[in-house]
Protein backbone atom coordinates (compact mmCIF):
# COMPACT_ATOMS: atom_id res chain seq x y z
CA UNK A 1 0.00 0.00 0.00
CA UNK A 2 1.56 3.25 -1.04
CA UNK A 3 -0.90 5.25 1.03
CA UNK A 4 -1.34 8.97 0.69
CA UNK A 5 1.43 10.46 -1.43
CA UNK A 6 3.83 12.45 0.74
CA UNK A 7 3.21 15.66 -1.13
CA UNK A 8 5.03 17.76 1.46
CA UNK A 9 8.24 15.87 0.69
CA UNK A 10 7.87 16.12 -3.05
CA UNK A 11 9.78 18.84 -4.88
CA UNK A 12 7.52 21.41 -6.53
CA UNK A 13 7.93 19.94 -10.00
CA UNK A 14 6.42 16.62 -8.89
CA UNK A 15 3.42 17.98 -7.03
CA UNK A 16 0.18 16.50 -8.27
CA UNK A 17 -2.47 19.15 -7.58
CA UNK A 18 -5.05 16.40 -7.20
CA UNK A 19 -3.34 15.33 -3.97
CA UNK A 20 -4.16 18.63 -2.31
CA UNK A 21 -7.43 18.76 -0.44
CA UNK A 22 -7.79 17.96 3.25
CA UNK A 23 -7.65 14.22 2.57
CA UNK A 24 -11.04 14.27 0.86
CA UNK A 25 -10.16 12.42 -2.31
CA UNK A 26 -13.81 11.87 -3.20
CA UNK A 27 -14.41 15.63 -3.41
CA UNK A 28 -11.56 16.02 -5.88
CA UNK A 29 -12.73 13.03 -7.88
CA UNK A 30 -16.20 14.54 -8.09
CA UNK A 31 -14.69 17.82 -9.27
CA UNK A 32 -12.77 16.01 -12.02
CA UNK A 33 -15.85 14.08 -13.12
CA UNK A 34 -17.72 17.36 -13.17
CA UNK A 35 -14.94 18.94 -15.23
CA UNK A 36 -15.32 16.14 -17.76
CA UNK A 37 -19.03 16.91 -18.10
CA UNK A 38 -18.35 20.63 -18.55
CA UNK A 39 -15.66 20.00 -21.19
CA UNK A 40 -17.93 17.57 -22.99
CA UNK A 41 -20.71 20.17 -23.01
CA UNK A 42 -18.34 22.72 -24.57
CA UNK A 43 -17.13 20.18 -27.16
CA UNK A 44 -20.75 19.45 -28.11
CA UNK A 45 -20.55 15.93 -26.71
CA UNK A 46 -17.57 14.84 -28.83
CA UNK A 47 -14.88 12.89 -26.98
CA UNK A 48 -12.35 13.65 -29.72
CA UNK A 49 -11.85 16.35 -32.36
CA UNK A 50 -13.47 15.29 -35.64
CA UNK A 51 -10.10 15.29 -37.41
CA UNK A 52 -9.21 12.07 -35.59
CA UNK A 53 -10.57 9.16 -37.57
CA UNK A 54 -11.30 6.10 -35.44
CA UNK A 55 -11.57 3.64 -38.35
CA UNK A 56 -8.29 1.90 -37.66
CA UNK A 57 -8.05 2.62 -33.96
CA UNK A 58 -7.93 -0.53 -31.84
CA UNK A 59 -5.85 0.16 -28.73
CA UNK A 60 -6.27 3.41 -26.81
CA UNK A 61 -4.59 4.96 -23.78
CA UNK A 62 -6.10 7.65 -21.59
CA UNK A 63 -2.93 8.98 -19.98
CA UNK A 64 -3.33 10.68 -16.57
CA UNK A 65 -6.89 9.40 -16.68
CA UNK A 66 -7.94 10.66 -13.24
CA UNK A 67 -11.19 9.05 -12.09
CA UNK A 68 -11.58 7.66 -15.60
CA UNK A 69 -14.49 9.75 -16.88
CA UNK A 70 -13.15 10.10 -20.41
CA UNK A 71 -12.02 6.49 -20.84
CA UNK A 72 -15.26 5.12 -19.38
CA UNK A 73 -17.30 7.16 -21.85
CA UNK A 74 -14.99 6.15 -24.69
CA UNK A 75 -15.11 2.46 -23.76
CA UNK A 76 -18.91 2.53 -23.73
CA UNK A 77 -19.07 4.22 -27.13
CA UNK A 78 -16.55 1.79 -28.59
CA UNK A 79 -17.05 -1.65 -27.02
CA UNK A 80 -14.90 -3.22 -29.76
CA UNK A 81 -11.79 -1.21 -28.84
CA UNK A 82 -9.34 -1.91 -26.02
CA UNK A 83 -8.84 1.01 -23.58
CA UNK A 84 -6.21 1.55 -20.89
CA UNK A 85 -6.72 4.22 -18.26
CA UNK A 86 -3.30 5.10 -16.89
CA UNK A 87 -2.43 7.33 -13.94
CA UNK A 88 0.45 7.82 -11.54
CA UNK A 89 -1.80 8.39 -8.57
CA UNK A 90 -2.53 5.27 -6.50
CA UNK A 91 -5.64 6.58 -4.75
CA UNK A 92 -7.09 7.78 -8.05
CA UNK A 93 -6.53 4.49 -9.81
CA UNK A 94 -8.20 2.66 -6.91
CA UNK A 95 -11.16 4.99 -7.19
CA UNK A 96 -11.38 4.60 -10.97
CA UNK A 97 -11.19 0.78 -10.75
CA UNK A 98 -14.04 0.66 -8.31
CA UNK A 99 -16.14 3.01 -10.42
CA UNK A 100 -15.46 1.00 -13.58
CA UNK A 101 -16.39 -2.29 -11.90
CA UNK A 102 -19.82 -0.83 -11.17
CA UNK A 103 -20.13 0.09 -14.82
CA UNK A 104 -18.78 -3.37 -15.80
CA UNK A 105 -16.73 -2.10 -18.72
CA UNK A 106 -14.92 -5.23 -19.89
CA UNK A 107 -12.84 -3.48 -22.55
CA UNK A 108 -11.33 -1.02 -20.06
CA UNK A 109 -8.39 -1.63 -17.76
CA UNK A 110 -6.77 0.73 -15.25
CA UNK A 111 -3.05 0.78 -14.60
CA UNK A 112 -0.98 2.62 -12.03
CA UNK A 113 2.39 3.75 -13.36
CA UNK A 114 5.49 5.25 -11.76
CA UNK A 115 6.23 8.64 -13.27
CA UNK A 116 9.98 8.17 -12.76
CA UNK A 117 10.01 5.09 -14.99
CA UNK A 118 9.16 4.47 -18.61
CA UNK A 119 5.55 3.56 -19.37
CA UNK A 120 5.02 -0.21 -18.96
CA UNK A 121 4.10 -0.67 -22.62
CA UNK A 122 6.08 -1.87 -25.61
CA UNK A 123 6.96 0.44 -28.47
CA UNK A 124 4.23 0.99 -31.08
CA UNK A 125 1.37 -0.20 -28.83
CA UNK A 126 -1.34 2.47 -29.17
CA UNK A 127 -3.41 3.81 -32.03
CA UNK A 128 -4.56 6.76 -29.95
CA UNK A 129 -3.41 8.47 -26.77
CA UNK A 130 -5.61 11.01 -25.03
CA UNK A 131 -3.90 13.26 -22.48
CA UNK A 132 -6.05 15.75 -20.62
CA UNK A 133 -4.84 18.43 -18.18
CA UNK A 134 -1.24 17.53 -19.03
CA UNK A 135 -0.05 21.14 -18.95
CA UNK A 136 -1.04 21.62 -15.32
CA UNK A 137 0.48 18.26 -14.45
CA UNK A 138 3.91 18.28 -16.12
CA UNK A 139 6.48 21.04 -15.85
CA UNK A 140 7.86 22.80 -18.93
CA UNK A 141 11.12 20.86 -18.41
CA UNK A 142 9.34 17.50 -18.17
CA UNK A 143 7.47 17.88 -21.46
CA UNK A 144 10.23 16.76 -23.85
CA UNK A 145 10.56 13.51 -21.90
CA UNK A 146 6.78 13.04 -21.71
CA UNK A 147 6.44 13.59 -25.44
CA UNK A 148 9.29 11.19 -26.20
CA UNK A 149 7.71 8.49 -24.04
CA UNK A 150 4.21 8.98 -25.43
CA UNK A 151 5.63 8.88 -28.95
CA UNK A 152 7.54 5.69 -28.19
CA UNK A 153 4.39 3.78 -27.25
CA UNK A 154 2.29 5.24 -30.10
CA UNK A 155 2.12 3.23 -33.29
CA UNK A 156 3.43 4.96 -36.41
CA UNK A 157 0.45 6.95 -37.68
CA UNK A 158 -1.16 6.79 -34.22
CA UNK A 159 -2.94 9.88 -32.92
CA UNK A 160 -2.07 12.02 -29.93
CA UNK A 161 -4.75 14.33 -28.50
CA UNK A 162 -3.74 16.91 -25.87
CA UNK A 163 -6.64 18.65 -24.13
CA UNK A 164 -6.11 21.53 -21.72
CA UNK A 165 -8.09 24.32 -20.14
CA UNK A 166 -6.71 27.83 -19.73
CA UNK A 167 -8.42 30.27 -17.40
CA UNK A 168 -9.19 33.69 -18.83
CA UNK A 169 -10.31 36.88 -17.10
CA UNK A 170 -13.13 37.19 -14.57
CA UNK A 171 -15.20 40.19 -13.63
CA UNK A 172 -14.96 40.57 -9.87
CA UNK A 173 -11.98 42.06 -7.97
CA UNK A 174 -11.16 39.26 -5.51
CA UNK A 175 -11.11 36.53 -8.15
CA UNK A 176 -9.05 38.83 -10.36
CA UNK A 177 -6.43 38.97 -7.60
CA UNK A 178 -6.57 35.24 -6.97
CA UNK A 179 -6.04 34.54 -10.67
CA UNK A 180 -3.00 36.80 -10.56
CA UNK A 181 -1.65 34.77 -7.63
CA UNK A 182 -2.42 31.60 -9.55
CA UNK A 183 -0.32 32.86 -12.45
CA UNK A 184 2.64 33.37 -10.11
CA UNK A 185 2.10 29.97 -8.49
CA UNK A 186 2.04 28.20 -11.86
CA UNK A 187 5.19 30.04 -12.94
CA UNK A 188 7.03 28.98 -9.77
CA UNK A 189 5.83 25.42 -10.33
CA UNK A 190 7.26 25.63 -13.88
CA UNK A 191 3.84 24.87 -15.32
CA UNK A 192 3.49 28.13 -17.19
CA UNK A 193 4.72 29.57 -20.47
CA UNK A 194 4.53 33.03 -18.90
CA UNK A 195 7.98 33.09 -17.29
CA UNK A 196 7.09 35.90 -14.89
CA UNK A 197 3.65 34.49 -14.19
CA UNK A 198 1.81 37.52 -15.54
CA UNK A 199 -1.23 35.36 -16.22
CA UNK A 200 -2.31 31.84 -15.22
CA UNK A 201 -1.47 30.23 -18.58
CA UNK A 202 -0.11 26.70 -18.58
CA UNK A 203 1.38 26.51 -22.06
CA UNK A 204 -1.45 24.61 -23.75
CA UNK A 205 -0.78 26.62 -26.92
CA UNK A 206 2.53 24.77 -27.20
CA UNK A 207 0.75 21.48 -27.97
CA UNK A 208 1.08 21.70 -31.78
CA UNK A 209 4.72 22.80 -31.45
CA UNK A 210 5.52 19.90 -29.13
CA UNK A 211 4.20 17.54 -31.78
CA UNK A 212 5.94 19.23 -34.70
CA UNK A 213 9.28 18.98 -32.87
CA UNK A 214 8.86 15.21 -33.11
CA UNK A 215 7.88 15.41 -36.79
CA UNK A 216 4.23 14.55 -36.18
CA UNK A 217 1.92 14.91 -39.16
CA UNK A 218 -1.70 16.12 -39.55
CA UNK A 219 -1.17 18.59 -36.69
CA UNK A 220 -4.00 20.91 -35.79
CA UNK A 221 -6.03 22.23 -32.91
CA UNK A 222 -9.52 23.33 -31.99
CA UNK A 223 -10.55 26.08 -29.59
CA UNK A 224 -13.65 25.87 -27.41
CA UNK A 225 -14.47 29.04 -25.45
CA UNK A 226 -15.84 28.11 -22.03
CA UNK A 227 -18.31 30.43 -20.34
CA UNK A 228 -18.06 30.27 -16.55
CA UNK A 229 -20.37 33.11 -15.55
CA UNK A 230 -23.79 34.53 -16.24
CA UNK A 231 -26.91 34.18 -14.12
CA UNK A 232 -27.99 30.83 -15.59
CA UNK A 233 -24.68 28.99 -15.52
CA UNK A 234 -24.28 27.14 -12.20
CA UNK A 235 -22.08 24.54 -13.93
CA UNK A 236 -19.52 27.16 -14.92
CA UNK A 237 -19.45 28.79 -11.50
CA UNK A 238 -19.13 25.44 -9.74
CA UNK A 239 -16.20 24.51 -11.98
CA UNK A 240 -14.42 27.69 -10.93
CA UNK A 241 -15.12 27.07 -7.24
CA UNK A 242 -14.19 23.38 -7.24
CA UNK A 243 -11.31 23.28 -9.68
CA UNK A 244 -9.78 26.61 -10.73
CA UNK A 245 -9.81 28.64 -7.51
CA UNK A 246 -10.23 25.75 -5.08
CA UNK A 247 -9.25 27.27 -1.69
CA UNK A 248 -7.27 24.30 -0.25
CA UNK A 249 -5.25 24.08 -3.44
CA UNK A 250 -4.49 27.81 -3.53
CA UNK A 251 -3.52 27.88 0.18
CA UNK A 252 -1.20 24.90 -0.11
CA UNK A 253 0.49 25.99 -3.33
CA UNK A 254 0.81 29.62 -2.19
CA UNK A 255 2.67 28.45 0.91
CA UNK A 256 4.84 25.95 -0.96
CA UNK A 257 5.81 28.55 -3.59
CA UNK A 258 6.19 31.41 -1.10
CA UNK A 259 3.52 33.53 -2.80
CA UNK A 260 1.41 33.96 0.33
CA UNK A 261 0.07 32.26 3.41
CA UNK A 262 -3.27 30.73 4.25
CA UNK A 263 -3.87 33.53 6.77
CA UNK A 264 -3.37 36.28 4.20
CA UNK A 265 -5.28 34.51 1.45
CA UNK A 266 -8.24 33.21 3.43
CA UNK A 267 -10.24 36.47 3.44
CA UNK A 268 -9.63 36.84 -0.29
CA UNK A 269 -10.83 33.29 -1.05
CA UNK A 270 -13.90 33.84 1.12
CA UNK A 271 -14.63 36.94 -0.91
CA UNK A 272 -14.24 34.87 -4.09
CA UNK A 273 -16.89 32.43 -2.86
CA UNK A 274 -19.20 35.39 -2.34
CA UNK A 275 -18.41 36.85 -5.77
CA UNK A 276 -19.23 33.57 -7.44
CA UNK A 277 -22.79 33.93 -6.14
CA UNK A 278 -23.26 37.46 -7.46
CA UNK A 279 -25.73 37.83 -10.28
CA UNK A 280 -23.40 39.90 -12.47
CA UNK A 281 -20.45 37.54 -12.19
CA UNK A 282 -18.72 36.81 -15.49
CA UNK A 283 -15.66 34.77 -16.30
CA UNK A 284 -14.43 32.60 -19.10
CA UNK A 285 -11.63 30.39 -20.29
CA UNK A 286 -10.50 28.38 -23.27
CA UNK A 287 -10.43 24.68 -23.86
CA UNK A 288 -7.71 23.80 -26.35
CA UNK A 289 -7.61 20.41 -28.02
CA UNK A 290 -4.54 19.80 -30.18
CA UNK A 291 -3.86 16.69 -32.18
CA UNK A 292 -1.35 15.07 -34.51
CA UNK A 293 -0.06 11.73 -35.72
CA UNK A 294 3.22 10.02 -35.03
CA UNK A 295 5.19 9.96 -38.30
CA UNK A 296 5.05 6.70 -40.22
CA UNK A 297 8.77 6.52 -40.88
CA UNK A 298 10.07 6.73 -37.33
Amino acid sequence: MQGTPEKDDLPLEYIDMRDIGDGRMSAIMSALQFQHKLFLREMKGALLPEAISLDHVQVVMDFICGPGSWCMDFSKQHPEKRIYGVDINHAIIEYAREDASHASASNLEFLEVDRRRPLPFAENTFDLIHLQNGTSFFTMEQWPEVMAEVTRVLKPGGWLNLVDFEMGPASQPAIDRVLTFLGQILARMHRSNEPEGQAPFTGSTLGPHRMSELFFTDIGYRLYPVDLGGWNNPVGRAYLAWSVVRPEMIFYLAERTGIGTKETLQPLLREVQRELRQIDFCGFGMLLSSFGRKPLNR
Binding site: E166, G168, P169, A170, S171, P173, D176, R177, L179, T180, G183, N193, E194, P195, E196, Q198, A199, F201, S204, T205, L206, G207, P208, H209, M211, S212, I219, G220, Y221, L223, Y224, P225, V226, D227, G229, G230, I279, D280, F281, C282, G283, F284, M286, L288, S290
Partner: protein, 285 residues
Protein backbone atom coordinates in the same frame (compact mmCIF):
# COMPACT_ATOMS: atom_id res chain seq x y z
CA UNK B 1 -10.48 70.17 -11.06
CA UNK B 2 -12.35 72.50 -13.32
CA UNK B 3 -15.91 72.95 -12.14
CA UNK B 4 -17.16 74.05 -15.51
CA UNK B 5 -19.32 71.20 -16.77
CA UNK B 6 -18.21 71.68 -20.36
CA UNK B 7 -14.63 71.01 -19.39
CA UNK B 8 -15.38 67.89 -17.39
CA UNK B 9 -13.34 64.82 -18.43
CA UNK B 10 -13.64 64.15 -22.10
CA UNK B 11 -16.04 61.44 -23.13
CA UNK B 12 -13.72 59.95 -25.71
CA UNK B 13 -9.99 59.44 -25.72
CA UNK B 14 -8.46 60.03 -29.07
CA UNK B 15 -4.89 58.86 -29.45
CA UNK B 16 -2.98 57.27 -32.29
CA UNK B 17 -3.19 53.99 -30.39
CA UNK B 18 -6.97 54.09 -30.01
CA UNK B 19 -7.40 54.82 -33.70
CA UNK B 20 -5.25 51.83 -34.61
CA UNK B 21 -7.28 49.77 -32.16
CA UNK B 22 -10.59 50.70 -33.79
CA UNK B 23 -9.37 49.61 -37.20
CA UNK B 24 -7.94 46.44 -35.67
CA UNK B 25 -11.27 45.64 -33.98
CA UNK B 26 -13.15 46.38 -37.18
CA UNK B 27 -11.15 43.79 -39.11
CA UNK B 28 -13.27 41.42 -41.21
CA UNK B 29 -11.61 38.49 -39.38
CA UNK B 30 -13.07 39.77 -36.10
CA UNK B 31 -16.53 39.85 -37.67
CA UNK B 32 -16.09 36.26 -38.82
CA UNK B 33 -14.93 35.18 -35.36
CA UNK B 34 -18.15 36.62 -33.93
CA UNK B 35 -20.11 34.38 -36.29
CA UNK B 36 -22.84 36.96 -36.98
CA UNK B 37 -23.20 40.73 -37.15
CA UNK B 38 -25.45 40.78 -34.09
CA UNK B 39 -26.57 38.19 -31.53
CA UNK B 40 -29.48 36.07 -32.73
CA UNK B 41 -32.06 37.57 -30.33
CA UNK B 42 -31.85 40.92 -32.15
CA UNK B 43 -34.30 40.85 -35.01
CA UNK B 44 -33.28 43.50 -37.54
CA UNK B 45 -36.18 42.82 -39.89
CA UNK B 46 -38.48 45.12 -37.92
CA UNK B 47 -35.78 47.64 -37.05
CA UNK B 48 -35.35 51.01 -38.76
CA UNK B 49 -32.29 52.76 -37.38
CA UNK B 50 -28.99 51.36 -36.18
CA UNK B 51 -26.11 53.33 -34.65
CA UNK B 52 -22.47 52.20 -34.64
CA UNK B 53 -20.50 54.17 -32.03
CA UNK B 54 -16.76 54.38 -32.78
CA UNK B 55 -17.33 52.91 -36.21
CA UNK B 56 -13.69 53.21 -37.38
CA UNK B 57 -13.53 52.66 -41.13
CA UNK B 58 -17.15 51.52 -41.13
CA UNK B 59 -16.61 47.81 -41.75
CA UNK B 60 -19.40 46.63 -39.44
CA UNK B 61 -21.88 49.37 -40.45
CA UNK B 62 -21.30 48.59 -44.13
CA UNK B 63 -21.94 44.90 -43.57
CA UNK B 64 -25.18 45.59 -41.69
CA UNK B 65 -26.39 48.04 -44.35
CA UNK B 66 -25.70 45.50 -47.11
CA UNK B 67 -27.36 42.63 -45.26
CA UNK B 68 -30.45 44.72 -44.33
CA UNK B 69 -31.08 47.28 -47.08
CA UNK B 70 -34.26 48.57 -45.37
CA UNK B 71 -32.23 49.94 -42.42
CA UNK B 72 -30.74 53.36 -41.99
CA UNK B 73 -27.30 52.71 -40.47
CA UNK B 74 -25.34 55.57 -38.91
CA UNK B 75 -21.69 55.32 -37.99
CA UNK B 76 -19.92 57.90 -35.84
CA UNK B 77 -16.26 58.26 -34.98
CA UNK B 78 -13.97 60.94 -33.56
CA UNK B 79 -11.33 60.42 -36.25
CA UNK B 80 -11.86 62.53 -39.37
CA UNK B 81 -9.67 60.38 -41.57
CA UNK B 82 -11.44 57.15 -40.51
CA UNK B 83 -14.79 58.78 -41.28
CA UNK B 84 -13.46 59.85 -44.67
CA UNK B 85 -12.34 56.30 -45.33
CA UNK B 86 -15.74 54.94 -44.25
CA UNK B 87 -17.53 57.34 -46.58
CA UNK B 88 -15.31 56.57 -49.55
CA UNK B 89 -15.68 52.80 -49.04
CA UNK B 90 -19.46 53.08 -48.77
CA UNK B 91 -19.52 55.23 -51.91
CA UNK B 92 -17.35 52.88 -53.93
CA UNK B 93 -19.46 49.90 -52.82
CA UNK B 94 -22.62 51.90 -53.63
CA UNK B 95 -24.21 51.43 -50.21
CA UNK B 96 -26.49 54.45 -49.83
CA UNK B 97 -28.45 53.59 -46.68
CA UNK B 98 -25.39 54.55 -44.64
CA UNK B 99 -24.39 57.85 -43.02
CA UNK B 100 -21.13 58.65 -41.26
CA UNK B 101 -20.40 61.59 -38.95
CA UNK B 102 -17.36 62.81 -37.12
CA UNK B 103 -17.96 64.02 -33.60
CA UNK B 104 -15.80 65.73 -30.97
CA UNK B 105 -14.06 63.99 -28.10
CA UNK B 106 -15.77 66.19 -25.49
CA UNK B 107 -19.18 65.61 -26.95
CA UNK B 108 -22.10 63.50 -25.79
CA UNK B 109 -23.97 61.66 -28.51
CA UNK B 110 -25.83 64.27 -30.50
CA UNK B 111 -29.01 62.39 -31.38
CA UNK B 112 -32.54 62.64 -30.02
CA UNK B 113 -33.57 60.26 -27.24
CA UNK B 114 -35.27 56.98 -28.20
CA UNK B 115 -34.28 57.20 -31.84
CA UNK B 116 -32.45 53.90 -32.47
CA UNK B 117 -33.54 50.26 -32.51
CA UNK B 118 -29.98 49.05 -32.03
CA UNK B 119 -26.87 50.75 -30.71
CA UNK B 120 -23.69 48.80 -31.37
CA UNK B 121 -20.21 49.52 -30.08
CA UNK B 122 -17.03 47.53 -30.57
CA UNK B 123 -13.93 47.85 -28.33
CA UNK B 124 -15.28 50.79 -26.36
CA UNK B 125 -12.54 50.10 -23.80
CA UNK B 126 -9.91 51.24 -26.30
CA UNK B 127 -11.31 54.72 -26.75
CA UNK B 128 -12.88 55.80 -23.47
CA UNK B 129 -11.31 56.20 -20.05
CA UNK B 130 -12.34 53.73 -17.38
CA UNK B 131 -14.23 56.37 -15.38
CA UNK B 132 -16.51 57.14 -18.31
CA UNK B 133 -18.12 53.72 -18.68
CA UNK B 134 -21.36 54.35 -16.83
CA UNK B 135 -21.83 57.82 -18.35
CA UNK B 136 -21.35 56.57 -21.88
CA UNK B 137 -23.55 53.53 -21.31
CA UNK B 138 -26.32 55.80 -20.01
CA UNK B 139 -25.87 58.00 -23.04
CA UNK B 140 -26.16 55.08 -25.45
CA UNK B 141 -29.20 53.75 -23.60
CA UNK B 142 -30.81 57.20 -23.83
CA UNK B 143 -30.66 56.90 -27.64
CA UNK B 144 -32.40 53.53 -27.65
CA UNK B 145 -36.09 53.20 -28.39
CA UNK B 146 -38.09 51.38 -25.74
CA UNK B 147 -37.32 47.70 -26.24
CA UNK B 148 -34.25 48.56 -28.36
CA UNK B 149 -31.02 46.62 -27.99
CA UNK B 150 -27.57 47.70 -26.89
CA UNK B 151 -24.84 45.40 -28.19
CA UNK B 152 -21.29 45.74 -26.92
CA UNK B 153 -18.36 43.73 -28.21
CA UNK B 154 -15.00 43.72 -26.53
CA UNK B 155 -11.68 42.00 -26.79
CA UNK B 156 -9.36 40.44 -24.25
CA UNK B 157 -5.97 39.02 -25.04
CA UNK B 158 -5.50 35.29 -24.45
CA UNK B 159 -2.21 33.51 -25.01
CA UNK B 160 -0.11 32.17 -27.87
CA UNK B 161 2.72 29.77 -28.59
CA UNK B 162 4.97 32.75 -29.37
CA UNK B 163 6.93 33.81 -26.28
CA UNK B 164 7.92 37.00 -28.10
CA UNK B 165 4.31 37.95 -28.81
CA UNK B 166 3.24 37.09 -25.25
CA UNK B 167 5.96 39.45 -24.02
CA UNK B 168 4.81 42.24 -26.34
CA UNK B 169 1.22 41.68 -25.26
CA UNK B 170 2.27 41.84 -21.59
CA UNK B 171 4.07 45.13 -22.29
CA UNK B 172 1.00 46.44 -24.08
CA UNK B 173 -1.09 45.55 -21.03
CA UNK B 174 1.43 47.18 -18.71
CA UNK B 175 1.07 50.29 -20.87
CA UNK B 176 -2.71 50.21 -20.70
CA UNK B 177 -2.49 49.82 -16.92
CA UNK B 178 0.06 52.64 -16.60
CA UNK B 179 -2.34 54.92 -18.44
CA UNK B 180 -5.22 53.93 -16.18
CA UNK B 181 -6.96 52.00 -18.93
CA UNK B 182 -7.48 48.72 -17.07
CA UNK B 183 -10.64 47.92 -15.15
CA UNK B 184 -9.04 44.91 -13.42
CA UNK B 185 -7.40 45.59 -10.04
CA UNK B 186 -4.37 43.37 -10.55
CA UNK B 187 -4.52 40.92 -13.44
CA UNK B 188 -2.79 41.74 -16.74
CA UNK B 189 -6.08 42.22 -18.57
CA UNK B 190 -7.98 45.19 -19.92
CA UNK B 191 -10.80 43.94 -17.76
CA UNK B 192 -13.60 45.30 -19.93
CA UNK B 193 -14.67 42.10 -21.70
CA UNK B 194 -15.39 40.24 -18.45
CA UNK B 195 -17.26 43.27 -17.06
CA UNK B 196 -19.61 44.00 -19.98
CA UNK B 197 -22.25 41.67 -18.63
CA UNK B 198 -22.24 43.34 -15.22
CA UNK B 199 -22.26 46.82 -16.77
CA UNK B 200 -25.38 46.03 -18.76
CA UNK B 201 -27.10 44.48 -15.72
CA UNK B 202 -26.15 47.47 -13.57
CA UNK B 203 -27.35 49.91 -16.23
CA UNK B 204 -30.84 48.50 -15.78
CA UNK B 205 -31.19 46.73 -19.12
CA UNK B 206 -33.29 43.58 -19.33
CA UNK B 207 -32.71 40.25 -21.12
CA UNK B 208 -28.96 40.73 -20.62
CA UNK B 209 -26.74 37.94 -21.87
CA UNK B 210 -23.33 37.44 -23.41
CA UNK B 211 -21.44 35.03 -25.62
CA UNK B 212 -17.74 34.12 -25.53
CA UNK B 213 -15.97 33.72 -28.87
CA UNK B 214 -12.45 32.63 -29.74
CA UNK B 215 -10.32 34.77 -32.04
CA UNK B 216 -7.98 32.15 -33.44
CA UNK B 217 -4.40 33.26 -34.27
CA UNK B 218 -3.30 29.89 -35.68
CA UNK B 219 -2.01 30.40 -39.22
CA UNK B 220 -3.64 27.21 -40.50
CA UNK B 221 -6.87 27.49 -38.53
CA UNK B 222 -9.04 29.42 -40.98
CA UNK B 223 -8.73 30.64 -44.56
CA UNK B 224 -8.77 34.28 -43.37
CA UNK B 225 -6.17 33.98 -40.61
CA UNK B 226 -3.13 34.78 -42.73
CA UNK B 227 -4.55 38.06 -44.03
CA UNK B 228 -5.53 39.00 -40.48
CA UNK B 229 -2.05 38.27 -39.12
CA UNK B 230 -0.51 40.31 -41.95
CA UNK B 231 -2.48 43.33 -40.75
CA UNK B 232 -1.99 42.48 -37.09
CA UNK B 233 1.81 42.61 -37.25
CA UNK B 234 1.62 45.97 -39.06
CA UNK B 235 -0.71 47.26 -36.32
CA UNK B 236 1.75 46.11 -33.66
CA UNK B 237 4.44 48.24 -35.29
CA UNK B 238 2.14 51.25 -34.80
CA UNK B 239 2.13 50.63 -31.05
CA UNK B 240 5.90 51.05 -30.84
CA UNK B 241 5.89 54.79 -29.98
CA UNK B 242 3.37 54.13 -27.22
CA UNK B 243 5.48 51.34 -25.66
CA UNK B 244 8.71 53.37 -26.00
CA UNK B 245 7.19 56.53 -24.60
CA UNK B 246 6.19 54.67 -21.44
CA UNK B 247 9.73 53.30 -21.12
CA UNK B 248 8.47 49.71 -21.08
CA UNK B 249 10.95 48.52 -23.69
CA UNK B 250 13.78 50.09 -25.66
CA UNK B 251 13.45 50.35 -29.42
CA UNK B 252 15.91 47.58 -30.15
CA UNK B 253 14.17 45.08 -27.86
CA UNK B 254 10.79 46.01 -29.31
CA UNK B 255 12.05 45.48 -32.85
CA UNK B 256 13.61 42.13 -31.93
CA UNK B 257 10.41 40.92 -30.24
CA UNK B 258 8.28 42.04 -33.17
CA UNK B 259 10.60 40.35 -35.68
CA UNK B 260 10.43 37.15 -33.62
CA UNK B 261 6.62 37.43 -33.39
CA UNK B 262 6.39 37.77 -37.16
CA UNK B 263 8.42 34.65 -37.70
CA UNK B 264 6.59 32.70 -34.93
CA UNK B 265 3.12 33.58 -36.21
CA UNK B 266 3.82 32.15 -39.65
CA UNK B 267 5.13 28.81 -38.42
CA UNK B 268 2.78 25.95 -39.29
CA UNK B 269 2.57 24.91 -35.61
CA UNK B 270 1.71 28.39 -34.34
CA UNK B 271 -1.23 28.43 -31.94
CA UNK B 272 -2.94 31.17 -30.01
CA UNK B 273 -6.13 33.03 -29.37
CA UNK B 274 -7.86 36.04 -27.92
CA UNK B 275 -11.38 36.35 -26.58
CA UNK B 276 -14.22 38.32 -28.09
CA UNK B 277 -17.19 38.92 -25.83
CA UNK B 278 -20.48 40.06 -27.21
CA UNK B 279 -22.87 41.33 -24.54
CA UNK B 280 -26.40 42.42 -25.23
CA UNK B 281 -29.32 43.90 -23.32
CA UNK B 282 -32.66 45.56 -24.02
CA UNK B 283 -34.12 48.84 -22.84
CA UNK B 284 -36.96 48.19 -20.44
CA UNK B 285 -40.42 49.49 -21.34
Amino acid sequence: MDHNGNNSPEYWQETAASEVARVFFGHPYMMEALGSLLPSMIDLRKAQKVLDVGCGNGEWARRVAKAYPHLHVIGIDTSLHLIQEAVSRATSEKVDSLSFYQFGTAQALDFPSESFDVVHVHSLASFISTVMWSRILDEMIRLLKIGGWLNIVDYEHGTTSSAAFNKLAAMGMAGVRALGGSLAPSSPTRGAAARLYGFLVDAGLIDVSYTVHALDYGINSHPGTRAFLDDFVVDMQNFKPFILQLGLLDGETFDALLAQTKSDFYLPDSCGYAYLISAVGRKEP
